[in-house]
């Protein structure tokens, strides 16, 4: 069983600021984290490895500093890590990203056949949720999105059963492997790395691949050239003019609470009171 988990290093959105003058995102000095959904994907992969044996390879495309995200994945228990990094990838949109990742997975496949590819549902910086499906298409794999849990795996018959969250309930689905699965936040909290794995991660030589190593010949499909999407403007929403207010109430009885609330509302918006009394009449 060989699982490739795609992870992306993203700025910690909780700490992002928009420059008050230029309105651009200030990334400098903002700490980076592994995209949270990707950690759920990684943990699912590690659990499969714990149960059925096999190998977990983590893969990212990004700048050299994305190595830190891979090293972290190694500390959790991934076996191998590949960083695809090259100037030609700069400015990639989801199309170009999927192309580059799919090419890299084909190279990884040569080393040991890949049975499953896991991605997060979406990233917290781009938020498109397109990369997983894009990679599946290019690798011609079965695609299962919004998966919250891997139920079981039948290695002999090459089948996997998963739980998929959908509107109004949970679907239990079975499909053939190889397949690509995009993972939701689930109830599988990421494990706490052992000391031995921390040492392994600190010493692990991350594989660094340029476009050639990733098996990419056609560079018109990468980077800005291969990216039809353009982010033309980013802006911070204007804060609401109305401020929230805490309404004090002496008693905790539902009746008193609602009376206080309504009194407040009616004093502030007399129109509403008029409207209601009109209708009541």
């Amino acid at each position: 069983m060989h699982i490739v988990v795609c992870i992306k290093q993203v700025p910690d959105s909780a700490q992002i600021r928009v420059h008050p003058v230029t309105n651009t995102i200030m990334r400098q000095g903002v700490p980076t984290i592994v995209n949270p959904y990707d950690l759920f994907a990684l943990e699912e992969a590690l659990r499969i490895k714990d149960q059925y044996g096999g190998r977990v390879t983590v893969l990212t495309m990004g700048p050299p500093m994305a190595e830190a995200a891979l090293r972290k994945a190694i500390s959790y228990g991934a076996d191998d890590a590949v960083l695809v990094t090259d100037r030609v990838f700069a400015g990639s949109d989801t199309l170009a990203t999927s192309f580059a990742l799919a090419s890299a997975i084909k190279q990884i496949n040569k080393d040991m056949p890949v049975d499953l590819v896991f991605t997060g549902k979406q990233t917290i910086d781009g938020d498109t949720a397109q990369v997983g499906p894009g990679v599946a298409k290019r690798l011609d794999m079965q695609l299962l999105t919004y998966v919250s849990k891997i139920r079981s795996l039948d290695i002999e018959n090459k089948e996997i059963v998963v739980e998929r969250r959908s509107e109004g309930g949970v679907q239990v689905l079975k499909t053939k492997i190889p397949s690509l699965i995009t993972v939701l936040e689930g109830n599988n909290e990421m494990r706490f790395a052992t000391m031995a794995n921390m040492f392994r991660a600190a010493r692990y030589p991350v594989k660094i691949w340029n476009k050639d190593a990733a098996g990419i010949e056609d560079i018109t499909k990468t980077g800005l050239k291969g990216s039809p999407t353009v982010v033309s403007k980013v802006f911070a929403p204007t804060p609401r003019a109305v401020k929230a207010e805490i309404i004090q109430c002496e008693s905790n009885e539902p009746k008193d609470l609602s009376v206080t609330l309504l009194t407040k509302m009616f004093t502030k918006f007399p129109k509403i009171e008029k409207e209601i009394s009109k209708r009541a009449a």
Partner: protein
């Protein structure tokens, strides 16, 4: 597999980074453990960087260290509720390279420093807390971490774990920290466009200004306030002794809010967007409160050893210098084939005694006591000075001689002549 190193350094602040860098450069096998996500992720400082200490470790640091502005002007303000009286010293000599003092942002600086440490060959593992020292009788033989299989061995352990070193306390190397020996400081970073900073502080390019403040901003508690200019932000903070906060029943946050509203300070930070709020302890007990600094297989460096000169707001430079001397001691002993025993590690103490570190700390050893027992320095004097200045500068038909008399009167009324002379004497003794 049992992991064993020549040296384990606990903590990746300036003291730990300095020690680890030096040791790795000398070819010793070094493991550095840090509980934060990265070096610097938990660290708090004003922050003024004193070039001298860093230059001894990394002579070319100016080439790529994340520095903000070099200081060309130092202001000292004594404030009462609505005024300040102060001195400004600005000199073009501070504009000549190599610069001597810089503002910096610790999280970025520490990260840069840690990269240097890793390049030198030390193994750095973050997000890992050392929970205990491993002892063989009295001898430290390694550390225990919070991770499964977390026992790691070493010939020596350097405790660079910052103020309130829980490890040193647990191992009994150092008693419980007293509230009178630590200050609690809070600070905020306010984002302001570069042009605005240049206008408000009358600087250009990467020139910077420091404002040190005492007076009623600390409500009579022993402490100081500060404001530093960064490239695109201003750092503002205030710190007072923990024991005073307890006594006055106030919070550092409330203090900072009041300070920011002071009419002399508010215009300097107006319109800024708050980027960061942090609080941290500063060990200010000085020489008299220092713990044992070494023993069989262990040494203490930086804040963990109370190496802070509170009077001159120096800490990071003492941290770096003590880290360096601790490392050099081990490097020398290793070369001479000697073991890291208590007797041999005494050399660390001698190196410190010869350096500015101990000389300065000894010089100011009575300072904390003087200020603790004489709150008038933080309350009465600022008001008296301010009133004196206001009286002299107000042109209202009263002759100057009468005004002088009025001022003298006011001083004597608030603090007897005896008190005034006594205060001057106490200060002189403590500074001398």
């Amino acid at each position: 597999m049992v992991e064993k190193f020549d040296v384990i350094v606990v903590g990746a602040g300036p003291s730990g980074n300095s020690a680890a860098l030096r040791l790795a450069q000398a070819g010793l096998s070094v493991l550095q453990l840090e509980r934060g996500e990265t070096s610097g992720s938990k660290n708090v400082q004003g922050a003024i960087l004193y070039a001298d200490a860093l230059e001894k470790l990394i002579p070319d640091f100016r080439e790529d260290a994340p520095l903000e502005r070099h200081i060309i002007e130092q202001r000292m303000w004594v404030l009462d509720d609505d005024s300040y009286i102060g001195s400004h010293y600005r000199s073009d000599a501070f504009n000549k390279q190599p610069y001597n003092r810089y503002t910096m942002i610790r999280s970025q600086f520490d990260k840069w420093f840690s990269e240097r440490v890793q390049k030198a060959g030390a193994l750095v593992i973050c997000e890992t807390t050392v929970t205990n020292l491993l002892l063989d009788n009295q001898r430290v033989i390694g550390v225990q971490t919070d991770r499964q299989g977390g026992e790691i061995y070493a010939d020596a352990v350097i405790l660079a774990d910052g103020v309130n070193s829980l490890l040193a306390k647990k191992a009994g190397f150092h008693p419980e920290l007293q509230p009178k020996d630590v200050a609690l400081a809070v600070k905020e970073i306010h984002f302001l466009p570069q042009e605005l900073i240049e206008q408000r502080f009358n600087v250009k390019d990467d020139e910077g200004v420091v404002i040190e403040m005492v007076g009623k901003i600390t409500k009579g508690m022993m402490g100081t306030g500060f404001l530093y200019t960064n490239r695109e932000s201003v750092t503002i903070g205030v710190g007072c002794m923990l024991s005073d906060f307890k006594k006055q029943n106030t919070t550092p946050y409330a203090l900072l809010e009041q300070m920011k509203a002071h009419p002399a300070i508010q215009p300097l930070i107006q319109g800024g967007e708050m980027k960061e709020y942090t609080a941290h302890l500063i060990p200010e007990g000085g020489y008299n409160a220092m713990p044992d600094l070494y023993g069989d297989g262990w040494m203490i460096v930086g804040d963990a050893g109370m190496f802070v000169n509170a009077v001159h707001r120096e800490g990071s430079n003492l941290a770096m210098t003590t880290g360096m001397h601790a490392a050099d001691t081990l490097i020398e002993l290793r070369k001479e084939g000697k073991e890291f025993s208590k007797t041999n590690l005494k050399r660390y103490q001698s190196k410190l005694d010869e350096s500015f570190v101990m000389k300065d700390l000894k010089k100011y050893k009575d300072m904390p006591d003087v200020f603790h027992t004489n709150p008038q320095f933080f309350n009465d004097y600022p008001e008296m000075l301010s009133k004196a200045a206001r009286t002299m500068l107000t042109v209202d038909g009263v002759d100057k001689k009468t005004k002088e008399k009025e001022i003298r009167h006011d001083f004597r009324r608030r603090r007897s002549l005896f008190g005034l002379v006594g205060d001057a004497f106490k200060l002189w003794r403590a500074f001398e």
